[in-house]
């Protein structure tokens, strides 16, 4: 039987699958359920300094090739998050805290406090395409901003830092390199692409209340794979390959492109919480059939 265990920045995982931020990650109880259902690590929904209501509904829709969302970082704020996630003892997999801010100083303030929780790593999405004041819309998706924000957070915590990048970025290699130089421990690639839009032709209006939203799931997968492939060639730190993974084959593709771990988000919409156990079983089955004993043998295989 193939061995799915893997180590990411010193974090030991039962399998390479990571619950992506913003999917299911709102509470301790739900994170526990996702971990019990087989996620090798789980990520919280992104936390900001102050509570945020996010955009009005509709915020999340599916289309023929994935999900489009403009949730807009709704979250209860760092103060409440510290209480919600104070005790992570029940969660059987490592927990990653996702932290957002409007500038480097705010990132550091939130990260410093979230890092006091029993979390394994801090993730910094510099790449949300649909929340004014944050991510791409605040110019965080440049090598300069990436360097500044990563440095500021590195100064307040010794825990692993994952910098999450946008598939839209022109200078993706430079952004990943800037993150690495500034002290990032891994790159999460990628966040949602776009933004895109869906129009209801009877109503003659965009359906999302914010009109546009990040595109994820199946449509994103080939783009995410190429991003992971490129980043693997540019930096030495590990990559968490995220985007459209819904089957064991997809996860193995990500590993071969250069990922050490594999994020899963939108697939929960089609497959439920059970998707993690299913993908892991499919990976093990493929590895057995193809004489692959360990995950490491697959990482970056497409480059050799």
């Amino acid at each position: 039987m193939a061995d799915l265990t893997t180590t990411l920045c010193g974090i030991r995982m039962a399998n390479p699958l990571v619950l992506a931020s913003g999917v299911l990650g709102t509470t301790r109880a739900i994170l526990t359920r996702a971990a019990r259902a087989g996620a090798g690590a789980v990520t919280m929904k992104s936390i900001s300094l102050e509570p945020r209501d996010g955009h009005p509904n509709p915020t999340i829709l599916t289309f023929e090739a994935g999900v489009i969302n403009a949730v807009g970082y709704s979250n209860p704020g760092v103060e409440e998050a510290l209480a919600e996630f104070a005790d992570l003892g029940d969660v059987p997999s490592p927990v990653i805290a996702s932290v957002v801010g409007r500038n480097a100083e705010e990132f550091a303030r939130v990260a410093e406090r979230m890092a006091r929780l029993p979390v394994a790593a801090i993730e910094l999405p510099l790449s949300c395409p649909h929340t004014p004041g944050y991510g791409t819309l605040a110019g965080q998706s440049t090598p300069e901003a990436t360097r500044e924000i990563t440095r500021a957070v590195r100064a307040v915590t010794a825990k692993p830092i994952f910098v999450k990048v946008s598939p839209n970025a022109q200078a993706l290699g430079e952004i990943a390199a800037a993150a690495e130089q500034a002290g990032a421990s891994a790159i999460t690639a990628v966040n949602s692409m776009g933004p895109g839009m869906v129009i209801n032709i009877e109503a003659r209006r965009p359906v999302l209340a914010f009109k546009m939203g990040g595109v994820t799931g199946a449509a994103l997968r080939p783009v995410a794979l190429r991003c992971v492939y490129d980043i693997y060639r540019t930096v030495r730190i590990p990559v968490i390959g995220t985007g459209g993974v819904a089957t064991g084959r997809h996860a193995i593709e990500m590993l071969m492109a250069g990922a050490t771990a594999v994020g899963v988000g939108s697939a929960v919409a089609g497959g439920g919480v059970e998707v993690f156990a299913r993908i892991a079983a499919e990976m093990a089955e493929w590895m057995d059939r193809n004489g692959v004993a360990r995950v490491e043998e697959l990482i970056g295989a497409a480059h050799r």
Binding site: T26, D53, N57, T59, T62, G270
Partner: protein, 266 residues
């Protein structure tokens, strides 16, 4: 893997009818395979999207029964025949029908139980409201067992007062309930004391409606997909049931604060 496209489809308002003081039924042009307890997401373009139950079904048409509370429910109530709203769904798990059921509705929770009563015409239906003017569906269900907090119609007291003797006589196999959560908690606790199964439809703020975002979390359950109807085994494990709910930001507050925010009684 099956992929469903979760996007609203517009439906025209055919007719509307006033049920009680601030409660109105809208009939919409649509056929739907709907199980009592499920819900749909109702979209008013450029305003918002919220969950509602289907309160009645006929060939080619479905009904929404809406209490006027805030901006959205007022705009929805004021839609005129010929105008349209978007619908997606139905979503969630409905009531699981078992022998010797009794229905216990509180306030506009009757909208949720009404199609179940249509399916189980012989099952007793206990309906409580605060006062006479808030009663609804009196013509549709003439055999309802009524109570009001102020005694202005039916027995004076809580729906639990009407349920208790039936549980004591051992004539109840299962209780289906929907209404303010404090009432459902009281109904559940009473059922527990008598060892009778209770199925309650919970209400939480929702975003996706199909289990992706966990905005609607109650314990480790997603109300939109794992519920909204939960049985006794699930309710027992949910420490938040009857006590806490989450605001739009995800902040956990008491049911009272949640109710004030939703401008409805918890």
């Amino acid at each position: 893997m099956q992929r469903i496209v979760e996007q609203p489809v517009m439906a025209r308002v055919l007719e509307r009818r006033d049920e009680a003081a601030d409660l109105r039924t809208l009939w919409l042009e649509r056929d739907m395979a709907f199980q009592p307890g499920q819900f749909v997401m109702v979209w008013i373009p450029e305003l918002d999207e919220k969950p509602y139950t289907i309160s009645a079904l006929r060939p080619g048409r479905i009904a929404l029964t809406v209490r006027r509370r805030g901006v959205f429910s007022s705009r929805l109530s004021d839609l005129r025949p010929g105008e349209s709203v978007g619908l997606r769904g139905p979503y969630g798990k409905g009531y699981a029908i078992k022998p010797r059921g009794v229905l216990v509705a509180g306030g506009c929770g009757l909208a949720v139980l009404a199609p179940l009563k249509d399916a189980l015409p012989d099952a007793p239906l206990i309906f409580g409201a605060r006062t006479r003017g808030e009663l609804l569906f009196l013509d549709r269900f003439p055999d309802m067992l009524l109570c009001t907090d102020d005694g202005s119609a039916g027995q004076r007291g809580f729906p639990t007062d009407l349920l208790r003797p039936r549980l004591e006589r051992g004539e109840v196999g299962v209780v289906y309930t929907c209404g303010p959560e404090v009432m459902m908690k009281a109904v559940f606790d009473l059922c527990e004391r008598h060892g009778v199964e209770c199925q309650a439809a919970l209400e939480r703020y929702m975003k996706c409606g199909f289990g992706l975002c966990a905005q609607c979390a109650c314990g480790d359950q997603r109300v939109c997909l794992d519920g909204p109807v939960f049985d006794s085994a699930a309710l027992r494990r949910m420490e938040e049931f009857g006590h806490w709910a989450r605001l739009k930001s995800g902040r956990r507050v008491t049911l009272n604060e949640y109710g004030n925010w939703r401008s409805c009684r918890p």
